[in-house]
Amino acid sequence: MLADNAIETDGLTKIFRSLWRRREVCALDHVSLQVPRGTTFGLLGPNGAGKTTFVKTLLSCVHPTEGGARVFGHDVWETGARRPIGYLPENHRFPTYLTGASMLDFYGALSGMDAGARRRRVPELLELVDLARWGDVRLGKYSKGMLQRVGLAQALMHSPELLVLDEPSDGVDPVGRRHIREILHSLEEIGVTIFINSHLLVEVELFCREVAILHRGKVALVGKVKDLTAGKGYRLSAASVPDNLAAKLKEAAAATASNHGLMEFQFADREQVNRAIDDLRAGGAEIESVAPTTSTLEEVFFRTVQS
């Protein structure tokens, strides 16, 4: 049976401990997130929010202190669970002694592709990322943007079902960015799940259908981009919300977040927020605040991070 979610984390926690200084840094604090199969998902957050640690945990580079992560229903620590993942790391250092073609061949082989499949796939991908003439050139001669494009080709070598991209547009010029976006759109059309970790809010807003904002290691907000940015809305904060009522309101809300016992719901219109207030009052919850919200993802991001 196919798993509904491409990515699923349950109470994922990572605490980095320094042995010498006896210092602890909580990079991820009980992060529970579901990324449905076939969607385009953006992970946002300020520096140090835990985004890269989250991605590295998905790829088994980082051991969680608590909780777990699953990819298409498989624990990420099973070697086979990483087979459907294509990954482009941030600050990658591809071996400069390899050429573009030999790099694709090497990582394709590590993904288990046989020689024949690799021979067919390498020129296709070099063509796709507009580097067909650069296949025999060593990576040491590539510009930053070219490395990013060949890195994307590397992530696509074995036709993954889930693409995890860490800052995919880093160092890429506007033309290259659009080109990458077009490639990603074509992958989205064939059902590939795309998970992007990015600082570029505009890029995420343009491309992703769903987003989550991580702040200080916690999920501060999760929702659909179109709901979060659909004109004016209202943000309702309440405490002591009974579980059954919280579940009902989550279904009606465009986005939800939970912070220190306070639940926040984002509603698209006045009617919805008034109905929610009535339900909360009837259910014995305490309303903390109701505020109108504006619409761009950038505004949503700043509001979430500042609150």
């Binding site: 980095f16 590295k56 790829l59 088994s60 580079c61 980082v62 051991h63 070697t79 086979g80 669970a81 990483r82 087979r83 993942i85 990954y87 790391p89 600050n91 990658h92 250092r93 591809f94 071996p95 400069t96 002694y97 390899l98 030999s102 090497f106 990582y107 082989a109 590590l110 993904s111 288990g112 592709m113 046989d114 020689a115 590397q154 995890v164």
Partner: protein, 277 residues
Amino acid sequence: MTALIVGAALIRDTFREAFARKVFWGLFGLSTALLLFFTFIMRIDVVQGATATVELFGQSVEKSIDVARFVRRIHGAISSFLYVWMMFLALFASAGLIAAIFEPGRIELLLSKPVSRAGILMGRYVGNLLVVALNTCYLVLGVWLIFGLKTGVWHSAFLGAIVATLFIFAVLLSAITLVAVLSQSAALATMVAFGLMILSAILAQRSLAERLLSSEWSRALWRTLYWIFPKVFDIGKMNMDFVQGKGLGAADPIWSSAVFAVVMLVLSVYSFSKRNF
């Protein structure tokens, strides 16, 4: 099948990196220089099973000796020299190859692939071993051929130097691997490997230590350390004795060094599997 593809890819990548870092060509060039040295410094005229003259640097050194015995003696000395020579070169050349895979931005991508951490580490280890194996074979076979052609004596025990060199290199490489996993430092890994070589030469002087050390506990400590650490010195001596036809002797240095290598590799895989990157 997949394991074969992955293993071959990791080994090929190690060779590519060795070529790119000039490690392979450095070893190859120095080996070739040594072969040329042996080709041109020694001229031997053989007359019916005995040497008429043997010349080194143009000076006649021996007359009318048995060629087979003479070549065997020379082989013994040269195999010891090659053993030390190859070990030094290989250790210098290899330490960086293991540590390189832990570079940030490179290791994450390797770990994201459906390959176990043990597989990644062992692929590099075997690749590194093969790089050195190819060069060792080239050098030892080359010297063997030169002496064979010059003297007509084909003394196959000399080829045992290949096995001895590769065995002890594999043992020291296991220590390099552990240090590289723990520290990600090629320099520190090289220092540790050379330290083990020097320590081995010191610890091998057991009979001298038994006489010089006054207390029983210090003698026991010496013996314990001797058995724990790899026997680079003893295996080198075993190799020379074997080439000179004196037999191998007790196998203790071999199995105790092999145990050291296995422990180092198990610890390497364990600490690699526990690390965050």
